[in-house]
Every structure is written in structure tokens, then in C-alpha cells.
């Protein structure tokens, strides 16, 4: 069995290429001087540089930012993550706690981060299938049999995804709509429809294809999207904060539909 030589090597010593603060002098960000080499960069470019270590063109950065604008900035307090921000406002907690908690909640399964990473991962696996000249239909069928769902296709609550048309318009405008992964995403949609009549592609499907065409990996796409919902969270928090406390969809006692045991007297289990 191993001892702990690895930890001893790291004790009091962190070797890194990510960056450092030289007190009172300068800051290095992934090998570049923040104040002299990155000082005119947009925040989006710094974010993506921090995530990937790569630099992107101005056109790509504007495109990435627009994806956030169109896909992820709904000031809708009934959506589950935004509802956390609104509850934080109605209960009068701080903005940082509200946005932190709502961001953590955005790592959901029916929306948000899990569909993001699973959608792009599915595309990459489908690409491998095609590259090996194997049947895409068979791959899709197996995925449904195993998991019952394919990330990037279908949507809870509403079948139609209102984000698709604006995103397509925008992607065309930026010259980013004709990549191989976008074509593959549509081929997958056609195959699903042919196999079982639907569901159709949702924004995670198209968004992940657009991002894959820009060269991001699955993990990079996931990390890039982590903060994406935040613009929509603040209005939900502020709105609830400005209304009377506790007034965000208040629930009367009778709104708990109790389905459990009838009233009974407490007794310890004898054994």
C-alpha cells in the first residue's frame, strides 16, 4: 500500500502555470501580465482564456457572449434556479448568497449544466461512431435503450424551444452556422425523428454543436456555461427584494398536501 510521498512533495509548495499575484507589483494570468498584456481584453475573453488557456478571435468572443445573452438570461423567477434567487430576495438574504446558491442549483439534470455537458459529449461520441463508419441510428437506439433520453433533444414543460430561431439567426450573422457539429446535430435530429417521430433538438443540442465547432471540449463547454444564467438571476432577486418580505408565491398551510400516516402518539420502539 502507498504511503503519502505525493502529499509530502506538495507540502508548502504549489507549482502552477495558472497565475499569481505579486503583492504591490503585478498579476500573472496564465503566463501573461494582466495589467500590460491583457488589460484591454474583454471579461469574456479573460473568462475563456482562464478556462481553456487559448485565445479566441474577437468574432468568436462576441459569438460566445451572444450565446449567453440568448440562451441563458431569462429573468423568469419560476424557473427553478432563478426561483432560488427570488426566494433569497423574499427572505432578505444577500445578493452573493442568492446568486451563489442559484448558480449551484443550475447544475441540474432537466436543464442547465448536466444537459450541456451530456449534449456535447453525445455529439462527440456520435462523431466517433460516424468516423468509424458505424450506424448512427443503431447508436441512437442504444442510447435510448440505456438512458431513456438523449441530451440535446426534447424539453421539459414546453416542446418548442423559442431560443432556436434567434440563435440560428445570430450564428448565421457571425458565420458560425455551417460547422461539422451543427450538421451532425441536425443529422441526429433527423435520425431520431425517423426512428421514433421525435423529440426535436433543443438549445443544449444546438448550443453544444455551435460551441463544439469553435473547438471547445466537453469540460470546457461545461465550465464556460457555469456563470451563464447569472444575468437572469439578479432581476429575480431584486424584484423579490423590492416586494414585501415573504411575498414571493407564499404558501398557506393547506397547500401542503399531506399523504402520510394519520395523527398518532409518539412511542419509542421498544427494542
Amino acid at each position: 500500500m502507498a504511503n503519502s510521498p505525493l502529499l509530502e512533495e506538495f507540502e508548502d509548495r504549489l507549482l502552477t502555470s495558472m497565475g499569481a499575484w505579486f503583492q504591490g507589483e503585478r498579476v500573472v494570468f496564465r503566463g501573461k501580465d494582466l495589467f500590460h498584456e491583457l488589460n484591454e481584453n474583454s471579461w469574456m475573453s479573460i473568462l475563456l482564456f482562464g478556462i481553456t488557456g487559448r485565445e479566441f478571435s474577437e468574432n468568436q468572443l462576441a459569438f460566445f457572449e451572444r450565446i449567453w445573452t440568448l440562451c441563458a438570461s431569462y429573468p423568469e423567477p419560476r424557473i427553478w434556479n432563478n426561483r432560488v434567487a427570488a426566494l433569497a430576495g423574499t427572505a432578505r438574504t444577500t445578493a452573493s448568497l442568492a446568486i451563489g446558491a442559484a448558480t449551484a442549483i443550475s447544475e441540474a439534470t432537466i436543464y442547465g449544466r448536466r444537459p450541456d455537458i451530456r449534449a456535447i459529449d453525445f455529439l462527440f461520441r456520435a462523431k466517433d461512431v460516424k468516423d468509424r463508419n458505424e450506424s448512427l441510428a443503431q447508436f441512437i437506439r442504444a442510447e435510448y435503450q440505456k438512458h431513456g433520453v438523449i441530451a440535446g433533444y426534447g424539453r421539459p414543460i414546453s416542446e418548442k424551444d423559442e431560443r432556436l430561431a434567434p440563435i440560428i439567426r445570430m450564428a448565421k450573422q457571425f458565420g458560425c452556422y455551417n460547422g461539422d457539429y451543427v450538421k451532425l446535430a441536425y443529422e441526429i435530429e433527423r435520425t431520431i425523428v425517423a426512428l421514433q417521430g421525435g423529440p426535436k433538438m433543443n438549445i443544449a443540442g444546438l448550443g453544444s454543436a455551435l460551441i463544439a465547432d469553435q473547438g471547445l471540449s466537453a469540460e470546457e463547454f461545461y465550465r464556460f456555461m457555469v456563470l451563464s444564467f447569472s444575468a437572469g438571476m439578479f432581476p429575480c432577486y431584486i424584484d423579490a427584494l423590492e416586494k414585501p418580505e415573504g411575498s414571493f408565491f407564499p404558501l398557506r398551510c393547506s397547500r401542503i398536501k399531506y399523504l402520510g400516516k394519520p395523527p398518532r402518539k409518539w412511542q419509542e420502539t421498544p427494542v
Binding site: 500500500m1 502507498a2 502552477t16 455537458i117 407564499p250 398551510c253 402518539k265 427494542v271
Partner: protein, 289 residues
Amino acid sequence: MAAKNRKETIKSTLWYEQATEDSPFVADVCRLRGYDVYGDMLANASWFDYLYLLFFDASPTKQQKKLLEAISIALANPGPRDPSVRAAMNGAVGGSGNAACLMAALAVGAGVAGGGRELLLAMSYWQRCGVQLERWFAVLRDPPQEERADVWPTPLNAPGFSPQGSHCPLRVRQTLDYFASLEVGSHLSWLQQQRRVLESTVDAPLSLLGVIAAAFTDLELKPEQGEMLYLLLRLPGAAAHAMEQRVFGWLSYPFWRDGLELTNDPGDRSNLVKEAVDEAAVVDEFVIE
């Protein structure tokens, strides 16, 4: 619209509330699984009766309650070297709020390396293998892999076994021995008997988390319930250490001033500015008095 919405309810098998006469939004009586919390349990039940009842539809036996209480003690303080407690202390020394400190402890203590996610995986192994040694050999030698990508990083070590050290620490053995002596189920005593065999299979010692996973399995918790309890029960220590470090302050807390080494330091890049600028003079020039 409002009338339509009013039909929406929160379904619960746990909790019932009876409103006061003057406000439908204020509860007079609360029942947990049928028991009157404030009119009966408060005087007659213990915290561990109550905690158990939140997870199960029956009151615990004396031995189950004892095991749950012992688990709570074993987990309550991971100690100030644990990443989750360090996260809480980091918040406190910088003057962050208590909720932020606990959120930090939860987030850091949730992972696949020593956190709630590892506990869930360890319990899923118990569900899969039970007390069948051959099944354990199979799963430890060829761990199940999720072919789809996920938000969780891929675990590198067998859940429930420590990547550090060469022997099972005394406190882990003490915990396992005591838990097993309560004879709540068969998993802890089986682990006691098979510990060395399992350790040599993965070439790593059993961890405290591994014992907790077996104990939760003896309590018949599902992995998701175990993960929740594990996250919850480790918070008291994080809270206490955070409060302690808040008093000592950031100056008494490690910063590793000389501990970070950059492998790609570009050095002083101020020469990139076309005209040499005395930055101190710039700051001085724009001081507003």
C-alpha cells in the same frame, strides 16, 4: 389565473401543518409522519429519533438510534485539515458571512475525493455487492464506468478507501469496531471480517468514509439519503472551526507567502507600454484631496 394556481400543492408524506384560526399562512400544529412535533415529540423524543424519522417512516430501534448517534459523532468534525473545514475557515478569516462559510464547506465537502459524492459511490458499491466477496473483487478490480460525461470529475480511487497511508488508522478501526458491536445489520460486521482482504485488493486502507458507507447501509439508507446525511452531519465542525478562526483572524492563518511557484512567469512586462510610465507618479497625480 390566481384561482387556477391555487390548486397547485406540495405533496408530502412527511409533513402536515394545521393553520391558526387568524392566518392560513401561520401553522399552529406541525406533524412529522403523524407525530405532533411541538405538542408531543418535543418533550418525549430525542434529536436522533426525530432525525431518523425524517428519513424513515418508523421510529428507530434503540440500536439504530445508537448507531445514528455514533455516526453523528464520528462525522461531526472532520478537523481543520479537511478541505471542507478549510473552506469554511477561509471564509471566516476573510470576514465572510456564516452562511457563506457553510456553503463553502458543503461545496468543497461534496466531491468524489472524500466528499458526499464518494460516499454515494461507496454506498452504491454496497448495494451492488452486499456481503458477497466475489462481487466486491469484481467491482474493485473493474470499477463501473459511466460512459457519458458528467459534471462530476471521474473518481481515481476506490470509494471508501484512502489514497494516503499504508495502514488503516486507529480511529477508523475503533469506529468500525464500535459500530459493528451495535449489531444493527450485517454489513459492518462483514466489513470488520473482510477489511484486510478488501484493502489488499485495492492496495489502500479503509477510510472513515468507507465505514460510514457500511453503517448507512446497515441503517438501510439509500445512497442518496446517505449522501444527504453525510453532507449535513459534517457541518458542525466546519461551523466551530470557522468561528474559531474568525477570532484569530487572517494574520494568524496560513497564506503560504513563499509557497507558490510560477512555471511560466513572464517577468516584468511594463516595457510593453510605449512610453515608460512611473506608476507611482500616476497614482499620486490623480489623488483627490
